[in-house]
């Protein structure tokens, strides 16, 4: 197998598995709450239904509203295709820079907020303002927690960082534990999950993501939702890349790729199950407590940075 083939394979897998991952979380949650749930294929059924439906648009909608779903989906797709999932060193690995990745996600966020405000409904503007407020707090925290890893790998390139983790001997790293916790908190917030946002409903006054896409219908809504699902899987893959990369293959031979695929799916299932447990166990935070939650994540990431300098530089 050539490495370009694996590159394409992992990008396609990431996009196609995304609805299944969303369905998996929903099913886990349902089981944990003693419900049966709609099965892991339900997000795919929803997407198929939405793609078949007619688009209804407000008469005031401008070109921003029409193009935003495509921009959001493409930006998320680009980000997803760049992140290494199976093979460490892919042809696109030079572009797999963490800062570029965060910028791509910020682009998607920017257009989603613009689209939310474009129609001029109260909910859209409210959702956009909340998203930008929380985004401004979440992004530095995310970068800070990634920088903890970059410091020891001397690079912000994902491939270099993964190679560094794979090649360094086993040791207890308190800084990594801090970075991991901060990253989990940010991933929960960025994907609009409980305790920050509730993904199951658009009937809450404190909704964030759903408020922005409330006016979308048909294929536009399908693209927006699909992008959100891809983002969830993207964050899960990013966390496995950064903190538990063991099992990723260094060469593109079939046996290694199959093993890496199996381990990747296993790690994803574990992370998504943890997410389902968190969502079942916690209540949603009051909206005004979310900045405190996010600054808590920032503080933890910063503690990781400090403890790296205090405890690990001299060792």
């Amino acid at each position: 197998m050539s490495s370009s083939f694996v590159q394409v394979l992992q990008a396609v897998l990431l996009v196609l598995l995304a609805p299944l991952a969303a369905g998996f979380v929903a099913t886990c949650k349902a089981r944990l709450q003693n419900r049966r749930g709609a099965g892991i294929w339900q997000p795919w059924r929803n997407l198929r239904k939405l793609f078949a439906k007619q688009v209804v648009m407000a008469s005031h909608a401008s070109w921003i509203f029409r193009t935003a779903p495509y921009v959001v989906f493409t930006a998320t797709l680009t980000a997803a295709s760049v992140v290494p999932a199976l093979l460490v060193d892919t042809p696109l690995s030079m572009t797999a820079d963490v800062i570029a990745l965060v910028a791509l996600l910020a682009l998607a966020r920017f257009f989603m907020a613009l689209a939310g405000m474009d129609i001029g409904t109260a909910f859209g503007g409210m959702g956009a303002s909340r998203e930008m407020t929380f985004g401004a707090l979440a992004e530095p925290a995310m970068l800070m927690s990634i920088f903890v890893l970059s410091l020891s790998a001397h690079s912000t390139n994902l491939t270099t960082m993964i190679n560094h983790t794979l090649n360094s001997p086993f040791a207890l790293h308190p800084s990594l534990a801090f970075a991991f916790v901060a990253m989990l908190m940010i991933a929960v917030a960025e994907n609009g999950r409980i305790p920050v946002d509730n993904p199951d409903t658009h009937l809450e006054l404190t909704m964030i993501h759903e408020a922005m896409i409330l006016e979308y219908s048909g294929r536009h809504l399908a693209l927006m939702e699909w992008a959100a699902m891809v983002k969830l899987l993207l964050f899960a893959t990013l966390i496995t890349d950064l903190f538990i990369p063991w099992g990723m293959t260094l060469t593109a031979d079939p046996a290694g790729v199959v093993l890496a695929l199996a381990l990747w799916l296993f790690k994803l299932a574990g992370l998504l199950f943890i997410l389902a447990v968190i969502e079942t166990g916690l209540a949603k935070l009051r909206l005004f407590e979310v900045p405190e939650y996010l600054s808590g994540a920032f503080v933890i990431a910063f503690l990781g940075l400090l403890s790296f300098y205090m405890l690990e530089v001299g060792v």
């Binding site: 308190p174 503080v299 405890l311």
Partner: protein
């Protein structure tokens, strides 16, 4: 276990110590403050035991057990009884908002790291890395004392400072002589008991545990005379 493993373990415990100091600052409720305080005491006991194992210093085992009983169980229980009887378990009421306090705390940690860095270079102990963190924890405890309104939270801050001093002692000299340590432990116990009595007295005299209320009362009293 090798020396490198023990050093990593001590480093990890030091990082957790720092985390508990930040957590103490970030809590809103008295009960969770006490829980984190108990966690800090337990961490301290574990650190003492690990350092005792690593440095083959048997006296440290005794102080580890003492720390566990006193700081992990007895002091939190005493304080818990006080807050239950005084009904002050609701809010902590910081003077500044939490985000600002956390930013200050980060600044304080950076500062202590900067100050300790030259000292670390000349030390040969396996616990030298934890000195910066111990200093940071002392300053964070002081920060807790000056940013809280209720007398009881200030006392928790004071006890946290004492915890960090003990941690600094383990880190910088592999523990103090046992006699000194027993003395300090009893001092802290007596201090906690006296504080407990004080809380009741303060509440009876001023109808509140807020330090501002005491000031206002005293100034007002002066005006009357």
């Amino acid at each position: 276990m090798t020396a490198a493993m023990i050093q990593q373990l001590v480093d990890g415990l030091a990082a957790l110590m720092l985390l508990t100091s930040f957590a103490l600052l970030a809590q809103h409720r008295m009960l969770s403050v006490l829980n984190w305080f108990a966690v800090q005491g337990l961490l301290l006991a574990v650190t003492a035991a690990v350092v005792a194992y690593g440095s083959d210093n048997h006296e440290l085992y005794i102080s580890a057990v003492m720390t566990f009983l006193l700081k992990g169980l007895l002091l939190p229980w005493l304080l818990w009884r006080v807050i239950r009887e005084l009904h002050v378990h609701r809010e902590v009421e910081p003077l500044m908002n939490t985000s600002l306090t956390m930013l200050l705390a980060l600044g304080v940690t950076l500062f202590s790291f900067h100050v300790i860095q030259p000292i670390e270079k000349i030390s040969q102990l396996m616990t030298r890395d934890s000195m910066a963190i111990a200093t940071a924890c002392v300053l964070l405890g002081m920060l807790m004392m000056i940013t809280r309104r209720k007398a009881i939270t200030q006392v928790v801050g004071f006890l946290a400072v004492e915890n960090s001093l003990f941690f600094a002692a383990i880190g910088s000299t592999n523990g103090m002589p046992l006699v000194v340590e027993i003395g300090i432990a009893f001092d802290v116990l007596i201090a906690a008991l006296i504080f407990g009595l004080f809380f009741f007295q303060i509440r009876d005299t001023f109808d509140s545990l807020e330090v501002d209320a005491m000031n206002a009362h005293l100034i007002h009293g002066d005006d009357e005379e």
